[in-house]
Every structure is written in C-alpha cells, then in structure tokens.
Symmetry: C2
Subunit: 211 residues, 2 copies
C-alpha cells in the first residue's frame, strides 16, 4: 500500500542515520500491559553502568512511561500518537531532534501496546523484540501471528504468575519453533528479576557488535 | 473521516435490522487475552436456559474462539479480518447471513483483541462492554481512554490473580468514576466464577427490556 511504501522510505533514512551514529536500535512491542516498561526499568538498572541507553516511548496519550524511564537518569522521549494504534517511521524521525544519538550505544523504542499493527511499520530499527505475558493465554502466537514471526527476540514475561494460570511454556515454545525458529526466547519475570541477566547480556552483545 | 462516516451509515442499517428482529446486541472488547471468550463461556453456561444467545467472533485469523463457543451448543459465527485490527459494521452485516436473528434474544459480538481501534467503529450494537484484566496495570484507563469512556459496562477480570499483582481495584474505580461515571463496573473472575451472576443478570435484564 502507499502508506507502507512511504513509511519504508523514511525507515531507510532512519536506519542510515542510526548506522552513521553507531547506535543499536530495538523496537519493543507487545499487547497492552504485558510488561514492556517494567522490563525496560529492570534492563536499564542492569546495564546503565556498561552501556549508554536512551528510550523513545510511544503511547496514545500521557507521558507516564517516559517519566518512569527518565526517573532512572537516562534520556527518554515521549511520542503521543493522538489515537494512532502504532508508531511509524516519521514519528521516530521527528522525535530524534530531542535525542543526542552520538551519546548512545543502545536506543530502545517502546511501541504502542497493540499485538497487531506495530509489527507492520518498520521504524528503521536493527531488531524487533516482543513481550508476551503468561496471563494472555497460549493461543496468541496462532491468533496474532505477524508480530511473533517478525521478532528476533520473544520475552515470555510474568513467569511468577505461571503457577496461577493454565499457560504452558512448553506449548508456547513448540508454537514459536513452528512460527519463528530463529527467534531467541527469553523466559523472564520483571517482578522477581528472573531471566533479566540473560536478556540484558544479549542486548549488550548486540550493541557492541555494531561498533 | 470518510471511513468512519461510511461505517456509521452501515451501523445504522444494522441497528434497524436488530430492532426489527428484537435482539439485544452487545459489542465486547478488550486487550488481547483479557478473558473475553472465557467470560462468554461462563456467561452462556449461566444463561443458556433463560435466554437464546448467539455469538459473532472477530479475530485476525483462526476459528479457535468460535469453536470454543459452538462447543456450548449455541450459534457462533467466526469473522477473520485478515489483518484489520478491529471489526467494522460491514463485516457484521455480511456475517448476519449466517445467523437467524429471529431465534435470538441476545447477540454478543466479541471484537478483535485490541485496546485502541475497536472503540472507534460502531457496529450497530445497543451497548459496548469491555474487559480489563487486573494483570494489565492501573494505568490503562488514562493511557487508553477511549474504550473506557465509550463502554456501558466494564468487567474487571482475573480477580483471582489480584493477590499476586500490584493492581489496586480502588484506584481503578476512582479512575473510572472520572472517565465514565455512568458505566456499570463488574469485578469478576472467569476462572473461579466470582461475579458472573451479577454480570449475567444485568445482561438478561437488558435483553428482556427491548421485548
Ligand atoms: N506479576 C508480575 N507483574 C508484572 C511483571 N511485569 C510487569 N508487571 C505488571 O504488569 C502491569 C503492566 O506493566 P507495564 O510495564 O506498565 O506494561 P507495558 O507493556 O509497558 O504497558 P503499556 O505500555 O501500557 O502497553 C503493571 O501492573 C506491572 O507491575 C511481572 O514480571 N510479574
Ligand atoms: N487466572 C485467570 N485466568 C483467566 C481468567 N479469565 C481468562 N483467563 C485466562 O486468560 C487467557 C486468555 O483468555 P481468553 O478468554 O482466551 O481471552 P480473550 O480476551 O478472549 O483473548 P483474545 O480473543 O485473543 O483477545 C486464557 O489462558 C484464560 O484461561 C480469570 O478470571 N483468571
Ligand atoms: Mg509501557
Ligand atoms: Mg477471545
């Protein structure tokens, strides 16, 4: 469609800009409330002495998520989409005026909470990562396949709630093996900290790999 | 926009058709995995001997949800949107060919799991209801306000998980009082059955009120 073609052209521009500045860019997606911001808080606490991190937050409205990130002492920019259910490359391009990319090693873009449209819009990122919460049910990969197929990393969050749900980690891993065998799967609990080290190390290695 | 105007015209057509057939229509929305289908299963079990119920299921792909409903012995139709992140009035109009509305008292339309766009598209329903799970966090009403504002009923699901979260039912009720004081709030657990009777009775009264 014309909308996606125009978006891809701007995404390419963003990608070249990110490469010129030597910053690794991750597009983090999920359904609303899966735990993206909480995972980011834990990840930043684990990594902020090793690498320089910045965050772009995307939400329909409010600055709540950017405020949570800024409270950790790192650069955070809030985009309000005013109704659009996903971020696009042009919104990212415009928000870059508020960030000094030369001071960053890793830039995480937290997308709008939505399991559908964000996966269709290239923002110029290196990698896509998504979060699924064990409370959402085992059927999400087959019912909402695109985001699971497009992501290089899939974080399975809220493991601490697993004993109180009918969710099967085994069934999920089998479904992901079928849909996206290359994806790295990170079982995690942003509440207890379980799995945060493995996920954070994967990010540090990626951010270092483009230097 | 032209898209919404065209949609509203078809929604009006649907609404007149529903009135002529004497069937009460509910548009049920939520984020993915909040528990819409599980709540419907419990509601149908509680009501199927009192009123005649039919369900239209809306999903990106698969027929999983319609199969869960059909297994209860009531009419269920599956719409696959092939990528669209919400149902619209035309999809509903086309699906009505597969339902005998004259045999129904209540028609529930389970929308695509998405906290954003479904609230913008009138389907011709009498009422909108939405589900929020206690695992999604207290900030959803302020971050995704439209659906909370538009709904006549707000079900707060997965109460059984409340002890394991940082969610406050009090804070939620205060936020809903500000955003939508007319909405009926139904604390519920589709897993334990808590709150299902009050919700089901509200539905029966509405379905009877239009006879
Ligand atoms: N039990 C448990 N709760 C968690 C965990 N991670 C996040 N939460 C809770 O889940 C809710 C939502 O977390 P957020 O981090 O705000 O989710 P989000 O994906 O950023 O939400 P949006 O930005 O609105 O899409 C909050 O109440 C968190 O406290 C976890 O590992 N375990
Ligand atoms: N603990 C607990 N789990 C629940 C409850 N209600 C639903 N679930 C679980 O939540 C997951 C999702 O439930 P569904 O009913 O499929 O959710 P949905 O809103 O219909 O999902 P979509 O149609 O994909 O948007 C499943 O694993 C259910 O077993 C509840 O009250 N308590
Ligand atoms: Mg967030
Ligand atoms: Mg469902």
């Amino acid at each position: 469609t014309n909308v996606l073609d125009a978006n891809t052209a701007i995404a390419e521009q963003n990608r070249q800009f990110f490469a010129a500045k030597g910053v690794f860019v991750l597009n983090l997606m999920s359904a609303p409330g899966a735990g993206k911001t909480t995972i980011l808080e834990k990840t930043i606490e684990a990594l902020k002495d090793q690498i320089r991190i910045g965050v772009i937050e995307g939400d329909i409205c409010t600055t709540r998520d950017a405020e949570r990130i800024a409270a950790l002492g790192i650069p955070a920019v809030q985009i309000n989409t005013d109704g659009a259910c996903h971020l696009d490359a042009n919104m990212i391009l415009r928000s870059l005026q508020n960030l000094s990319l030369e001071d960053l090693d890793l830039l995480v873009i937290e997308n709008v909470g939505n399991l559908v449209c964000p996966a269709e819009f290239d923002l110029g990122e290196h990698y896509k990562a998504m979060v699924i919460s064990v409370t959402e049910g085992n059927d999400k990969p087959t019912k909402y396949p695109l985001m699971f197929k497009e992501s290089q990393a899939i974080l399975v969050n809220k493991l601490d709630l697993l004993p109180y749900t009918d969710f099967s980690l085994e069934v999920l891993k089998q479904d992901l093996e079928t849909l996206n065998p290359q994806a790295q799967v990170f079982p995690i609990s942003a509440r207890t900290g379980e799995g945060v080290v493995a996920w954070s190390q994967w990010l540090v290695e990626l951010a270092s790999s483009i230097k």
